[in-house]
């Protein structure tokens, strides 16, 4: 027998599919680009990042219906009392395991999608009063566009608050609970000890994601053609 120390790798279980992970990190990058471009007055870049974000959000909503098990809203949307019970258990040291998002995390996902969707939608109707006008700004009155622009700026502060909450919560799992959610969102795998033994994780076929993305891009393309062609004015 050898006396050398044996490093035993804990088996990992695949929980996140590629589309969900790509969506997550793309959103992180796009939020940063959107903020930076608006701050520097690079409005063409801001428009592109905003439209891309909108397309990804629509994709994510579709993926939440037809995607893999852990990406589905039905997997991570729980009634409020269950969210409260989960948080109480967490504070008391009793942590329930979930393959995908836990009830609190699921609530954060939905809230984040809603607020980002509101941000992208208000951006379409906004204007900066100078050189930039959102693609749909001419469909509403000046006053409405100005109001939506103010709302667009306000929602950004809400997004910052949500991002802060999200990062603090993830840090709590990583540093306090020893559950590296960041790594899992990169690799798609979690240690099996962090996944319920009876978890039924299934994965949607890649072509479903491809078709969904194609559908979103087609809708976006047709919408862009209609707007740019002035058919709505």
């Amino acid at each position: 027998m050898s006396d050398s120390p044996v490093t035993r790798e804990i088996p990992h279980v695949r929980v996140w599919d590629a589309p969900t992970r790509l969506f997550h990190w793309a959103v992180v990058i796009l939020i940063f680009i959107s903020w930076l471009s608006a701050d520097q007055g690079l409005m063409t870049i801001h428009l592109c990042s905003g439209l891309t974000l909108l397309a990804l959000l629509l994709f994510r909503i579709g993926w939440g219906i037809v995607g893999s098990a852990t990406a589905r809203f039905s997997d991570f949307l729980h009634p409020p009392r269950k969210v409260v019970a989960y948080l109480r258990g967490l504070a008391g040291g009793d942590r329930q395991l979930y393959a995908g998002h836990n009830p609190a995390g699921g609530l954060m996902v939905v809230a984040m999608i809603a607020v980002l969707l509101a941000q992208a939608m208000t951006g379409l109707f906004s204007n900066d009063g100078l050189h930039f006008t959102g693609p749909l700004a001419l469909l509403v009155s000046d006053d409405a566009s100005t109001w939506l622009t103010t709302l667009h700026a306000t929602i950004f502060n809400v997004i910052l608050l949500f991002v802060w909450c999200h990062v603090v919560a993830v840090g709590f799992y990583v540093f306090v609970k020893g559950d590296n959610l960041v790594k899992a969102m990169f690799t798609g795998h979690k240690p099996y000890t962090h996944v319920p033994a009876d978890a039924q994780v299934f994965f949607a076929r890649s072509y479903v994601a491809f078709l969904l993305l194609l559908l979103v891009l087609t809708i976006g393309g047709v919408g862009w053609f209609i707007i740019q062609g002035g058919f709505l004015l």
Binding site: D39, G129, T149, W164, F175
Partner: protein
Amino acid sequence: MSAPAYFGGVTVVTALGIAAAMFLRPAFGHTVLQWIGLESIPQAAPSSFYTVRVAPLLEAHCTSCHGAERQKAELRLDSFAAVLRGGKHGAVVMPGAARDSSLFTRITLPVTDDRAMPPSGKTPLNKDEITVIRLWLAAGASGTLPVKAIKGAPALVVPVKMPELDLAAVRRQRAPLAHEVSRLQRRFPGVIHYDSRSSADIEVDASLKGAAFGDDDLDALVPLRDRIVSANLSGTAVTDASAPLLASMKALRVLRLMNTKTTDATVQALASSKTLKVLAVAKATPGTLAPLRQRGVRVYEDLDVR
């Protein structure tokens, strides 16, 4: 790591993040400090040079983009405190140094410059307005310095504000006589008009009717007599028989009777009018006109002042 240690660390990191943001964005820093009461909010005195001369210019040229509704570059120029606070790119006002203040340099750039303010398409500040801003900055960008303390400022131009036309109120004023006016306008086309769009007063101009307009026709206007402010009867067939009616017009200010058969009798009848300001007559003796002239009525003889 324990939960208390983690959340303690989060608190420290968050506080450091906010402090860094306050340092990098002084305007945000001032807002936070003023909000929590650690910094007083600067106020401008109502009679200060800023309030009387500078604030109206900012309101006219800047606050549509840098005001309550919209804050381009996170800059507001709709209050003294906000002006001093500055925006995303720092302070816009350097007290005592106009040429170092972007509030001044931006408004003096050529309109072809992308950084020029107000941006192209909006009305730029004129020379006098720029001088006002420059003098205020050079004098220390004070909120208390009175108007007279800053010498050399161009004279204050106070824009005239026209009252908004309340058409509903005009309609209500005209309503009691509207039917009569309408009827008489049909009977005497082109003779009866309202004084203006905003008035229920009436002008009568029968001069183009000539001899076809006589005492009987003028008598038909009796229902309108309290509203008639001007009557041009020059060249008509009106005679002294209409003098009582003309004298009973309580609002009559202008009366023209050139080239008519009216005489001193009509002038004497008008002597008691308290509203008449202008009278043009063909035949009258100086002694008859004297009382009117003494009252300040402008009297014209033997010429048509139309």
